[in-house]
Symmetry: C2
Subunit: 764 residues, 2 copies
């Protein structure tokens, strides 16, 4: 998977306002570092310079060539081979290394048939042809066919309905046109949501099958020349991918909440709630064109029309298709590589760095580009250890298996080691695909100040200026209003995390602070989850010199080194309070907007506006439904909790500033206890009961949306209750969220107390 | 031509907010009428009911069939035949009818060649094939070939550059990518401006040729099924059209400002400033695709990418084309049909109603659909006359020739009769293409209250409710913020008039108040200026029952009848004052926005933001130019003039309200003198020197944009000076515009004085 693209596209969407960006911006190599005394900061910088000296682009290239040389999906021989190869590397670099194995449900295709049976006949190719320009594309014997993992078996025939991205609001547009998908097969295009949402929402509306196609407007010719001339998706490229209902839980569908070890108690397949309810198949736009061209019915709304050379009709029919899918419902082994450098002073505090190693096919970009950066970091850390350095805290490097089907390797490991991790987990740092371009990051907002200091110190390979300054320049030119605020403050905001990569079990299931990092935006990457995501493609169109791989290693390495060595964990709870305050404002505004829309809609119905406007020759028009009134809700529990939180974090900021005034270390005897409180404060944001209808997700601030999949919902219990017009639940969850925020604030108060009474803190 | 589509698309562009629209909305047949005493209003309504009884859809159908039976462009036999046929009809209905002839420059193609000479060879078809489903499409011997009128001759070869719509801001994007069109041939797509702007701006930037293509995103398959299956443009449909520089002057290029009569003094062709500077040719998307596919270079900006199945590259080249054009530079005859019913009481006040009759080919929609509605009105007026009714004022019905090449028939007639028209012209009412759907109108804002009363009284054929209510419902659902204001006030705003049809010489050259009216928005009209704009197409896809033709006749008829019979001309200068006040605010805001953008741009340059962001592997990036500071300008002359204007119009409103209190007539002896003042007030908005660099356009409030062509610029002298950063000119023109507004206000004061001192007026 990879959330990178999602992250990076956000700032580019809206043309922004201007901003002050200083002209002279070389990466800094001095100044204070959060969590470090002045003396320790100088030592740290010296250490980082040595770390950098052990990074080199040719190694990344060689590793990528090795790791992507053959298809290496879950259960394939080369998947295991890669795991063993990497375990060997980690060992050779001095890490305590083991491969942890799990056994997970991993269906592979037995039968795949998609044929149009009316008004003409056409059988979809369902294949990606080898290209002479791309040597690994010819490894057909080892490639997984094009399919969506965790689609159920099915044999259905029905008329097609085009549903755009297939998200809930698309079905409102269909309703306006009198179109019901009951008993129909939906055609959805990729984009607009995580792919697993499409069959889920289709099934909720009564569809019997789901076809997902890559419209050329997404990553095909609308973006640029197609492969192999350019890097974008050709008419035969197919996006594989998981369609499990991951917003309910990630990991093995048969072992929710527990590690999928050899003897784990497993659900019957029929009881696995994250499998789809209807059969699903992904296809290329070459296969989609004849089907879509054979459709009639109303024209799709303007925003739904893609880049195929035809009118986009909604159906239903007259195109009728037969979709037949059957899978081998086997258990497959997972090989997680776990490599450790024990902490010398605080071994019970773990800094965990991870990237997955499994791919849908050869996966040069997804995930090998991130994996090789991680390997480079590990080797450099090993060199530092060899030269005598020891991290204060324990460092764990992980190469996850089974991320593609559903964050399997990370989730099963996190579930297996849940108790230890809750006890010891300080921060989890994730990466995935990486490319030439701009830095993008999401994560826990306590780490926002910290990550900005890191970005200030990493040079952009193309420009020489700091990665921070390049990010700010991009925000100044292309960022929306929120990013412009960051530009003014010379500060890159962290996006809140939804899902789509291996941070999810750590952050959202265990409450461990997390970061997700990567570069991109200057690549031509139309090969997501295709056989053409290859070394040949990567070295032409993504990061030919691997300089951004090195930049990612410098970034990830600094993050790990600083987290491992800081006097006190470099958390800034003030930034978290600011973010939560913003989210609390947003959910209030959401309710107000919903009320306004509701009143307007109902007024328009009273005034028969739709009857007056809709074209009577198009008999399909149906006025939208009348909406129930939107009540005023009691936001005060949330508002009071935010106010208390802000007071607590401000007091901590004053206390730590006083304790470190003049660049000194906080009292030695307080440091480990402070760490313990700070790293567990994020745990206080979780609840044992979890989110409504998805108890696996316990974090009350960040979650993937139930109907977005990757896209984040902050304050999810409250926000989604309002979106779904569940007023009682919204008010009830307001109390739950407020309780979690209060729990966090209490932890911060404990941290403040550990620093002793200070004149500033006493003054409030 | 036809500005209808432009007008109607405006409200649909932005999804709007809700609004109060009363549920019960049947067209009213009672209530006061502006300009009429209560007694006269009742008589007028009775007259209108009789008028309506003489309208019938089958006649419109028959006339359309007759008029569109053969190609009838300027100079063709059937163009003359149609004129004589209509003159006969007008005579038979009792109108004093004559055909006025002019002689105008009208080039027709002698040579048309477009061939790609590299990297591969391809010769464009430059033809529209006959279709069996469309009988008149086979009249190849009489059809004008596909071409742009008033392109100069040329024989050029050069590399292609894709310039999007080819408007000035598109060239800024090209500059950012280091692309210069000097010595190149530009490929521009239709849309985004009037077509004549494309070669004009291309030539200003040094291009040597211009090709204009119909991208399927405009009126092709992106909109729906293509002809003959659906109504939209197929891959062989071509949009002919004029490319004269009409924002400089409309009418015959050889006789600017004077009528093109037999012996008129004519310019040499080489001195005609409205001919293009470079050769221009329109092509279909079938012909465009091979050319565009052969291009390379940077990808076009996202908003530039159309719906052809390929990446849109900017070039230059490697596609190289040879464009060879030669024309017969002949004079052709124009046949304007002018039909008159003399006024019985105030024959020196003229109400003029016009529609053009010439077409590019068969022109069922453009212009015959509007023409047949006008004929229906004329026949019904004739019936009223036969039954004894006589209009108070003179009514003139006109069928213009030569609108398509450049508003030739209307302009030459208006120039020939300029003195009489300045003396007698009360209102000019224009229509052009007409279709099923929603009412749209532009015009002088003095007529805004009046037109709303008309719309209140015309029933929508499909819905039974009034046209006003249907318009308001559409605005409520789809209108932008400005239209929403109208919805709240139950008021359809008039759009200010730019150009694109025959109102231009009357309003903008002579200062006669004007209206432009039509219906549309529920049609499938992808045949603009093509051989497929035929009776067969119209009766399937535009207005099959001709009910909207009848609705247009009811609308136009009411407008004419009320203007002809009112006690006092139903002008409402208050609405004009409101509109001008809004425009004055807009130009102030424009300057402020420009200043803000300038500061931001220059800051970004200071901060080297572009250097930091632009992808260094794409060597073409060039930072934008530094902009000169935007000074503060003295808006006070304009502001003071607007304030005086508002005081004057408010006083008139009070005075006329007092004079007509209780629904009585204003004093009889004042009526004709009031008319004379009111109808000439619009003339006070003109200046003898005209607009800078285009003295033919004398109206200081409304003009087509110098760089938009059809699109209006209000307060054009000031607005365009600001847009072009001509600060001195902007300030100087502020005084000129203020003077014109003052002149108008003085006329209104005279009208107020004619009504005598009233308690209300004295009180201000």
């Amino acid at each position: 998977m990879a959330t990178r693209r999602t992250l990076l596209l956000i700032p580019a969407l809206v043309l922004g306002l201007a901003a002050r960006t200083p002209a002279d911006t070389t990466p800094s190599s001095s100044g204070p570092l959060l969590g470090f005394s002045n003396d320790h900061a100088s030592q740290q910088r010296e250490l980082e310079a040595r770390f950098d000296s052990h990074l080199d682009a040719p190694s990344l290239r060689e590793w990528m060539k090795r790791l992507s040389a053959r298809p290496h999906h879950v259960g394939s021989p080369y998947d295991k081979d890669n795991a063993e190869f990497m375990a060997g590397l980690f060992r050779s670099w001095g890490f305590q290394t083991q491969i942890e194995q799990f056994k997970v449900l991993f269906p592979t295709p037995k039968t795949r048939l998609l044929e149009m049976v009316a008004p003409t006949r056409f059988t979809a190719t369902l294949s990606e042809p080898p290209l002479p320009e791309d040597p690994t594309s010819g490894q057909t014997a080892e490639q997984l066919p094009t399919y969506n993992a965790y689609s159920i078996d099915g044999d259905v025939t029905g008329e097609l309905v085009y549903v755009n991205y297939g998200v809930p609001k698309d079905y409102e547009e269909l309703e306006r046109r009198g179109i019901d998908v009951k008993g129909k097969i939906v055609m959805a295009r990729y984009g607009g949501s995580w792919r697993g949402i499409k069959p889920k929402v289709a099934a909720e509306h009564g569809a019997i099958g789901c076809i997902i196609f890559s419209d050329p407007s997404g990553d095909g010719y609308l973006q640029g020349d197609v492969y192999p001339k350019g890097g974008w998706r050709s008419d035969r490229g197919v996006q594989r991918g998981s369609v499990a209902d991951m917003p309910v839980y990630s990991g093995d569908p048969l072992t929710p909440g527990v590690g999928a070890t050899e003897n784990a108690k497993r659900l019957d397949i029929k009881d696995a709630t994250t499998l789809t309810k209807i059969p699903v198949l992904p296809i290329s736009y070459g296969d989609a064109l004849p089907l879509l061209k054979a459709m009639a019915g109303p024209m799709a709304p303007e925003g739904w029309r893609g880049s195929l050379p035809m009118p986009y009709h909604l159906g239903p029919g007259p195109a009728r298709v037969h979709l037949k899918l059957a899978f081998n419902w086997n258990l497959a082994p997972l090989y997680d590589v776990i490599a450790r450098i024990p902490g010398s002073e605080r071994p019970d505090e773990w800094v965990i760095r991870g990237n997955h190693h499994d791919a849908w096919v050869n996966g040069a970009n997804d995930p090998v580009s991130g994996m090789v950066a991680e390997l480079a970091e590990a080797r450099a850390l090993g060199e530092l250890v060899k030269s005598g350095w020891k991290p204060k805290r324990t460092i764990i490097y992980a190469a996850w298996d089974g991320e593609e089907p559903g964050l399997l390797g990370s989730t099963e490991w996190a579930e297996t080691h849940a108790e230890e991790l809750r006890q010891h987990g300080a921060v989890y740092i994730n990466s995935d695909s990486n490319a030439r371009g701009f830095f993008g990051a999401g994560g826990s907002h306590q780490l926002e100040t910290f990550i900005n200091q890191v970005l200030r110190d990493v040079p952009d390979p193309e420009k020489g200026i700091s990665v921070l300054d390049r990010s700010l320049a991009a925000d100044a030119l292309y960022g929306g209003p929120d990013r412009q605020e960051g530009v003014k403050a010379r500060f890159v905001p962290l996006e809140p995390l939804g899902s789509g990569s291996d941070f999810t079990p750590f952050l959202q299931h265990l409450g461990i602070s997390a970061l997700n990092i990567g570069y991109g935006g200057e690549d031509e990457y139309g090969q997501y989850h295709s056989i053409y995501d290859s070394f040949a493609h990567y070295t032409r169109f993504v990061d030919p010199t691997f300089e951004y791989g090195v930049a990612l290693a410098k970034t990830g390495g600094r993050i790990v080194l600083r987290l491992a060595d800081a006097d006190v964990l470099p958390f800034d709870p003030d930034r978290f309070a600011t973010a939560v305050g913003r989210y609390a404002d947003e959910v209030q505004k959401l309710l107000g907007d919903l009320r306004k829309q509701t009143v307007e809609r109902n007024q328009q119905l009273d005034n028969k506006v739709y009857e007056a406007v809709d074209d009577p020759t198009q008999k399909w028009w149906v006025a939208p439904k009348r909406l129930g009134d939107v009540p005023y809700l009691n936001f005060s529990p949330l508002e009071n909790a935010v106010a208390r939180l802000k007071a607590s974090t401000a007091a901590y900021s004053k206390a730590i500033a006083a304790a470190t005034a003049g660049g000194k270390e906080p009292p030695l005897e307080a440091q480990a206890r402070l760490d313990d409180v700070l790293m567990k404060a994020e745990r206080a944001l979780t609840t044992t009961q979890g989110l409504p209808r998805r108890s696996w997700y316990v974090h009350q601030i960040y979650a993937p949306g139930y109907y977005t999949g990757y896209g984040v919902k902050t304050l999810p219990a409250v926000r989604e209750a309002i979106e779904q017009r569940q007023w009682q639940e919204a008010e009830q969850q307001m109390g739950v969220v407020a309780g979690a925020i209060d729990g966090f604030a209490k932890e911060i108060d404990r941290a403040t107390a550990l620093l002793g009474p200070s004149p500033a803190a006493a003054g409030r």
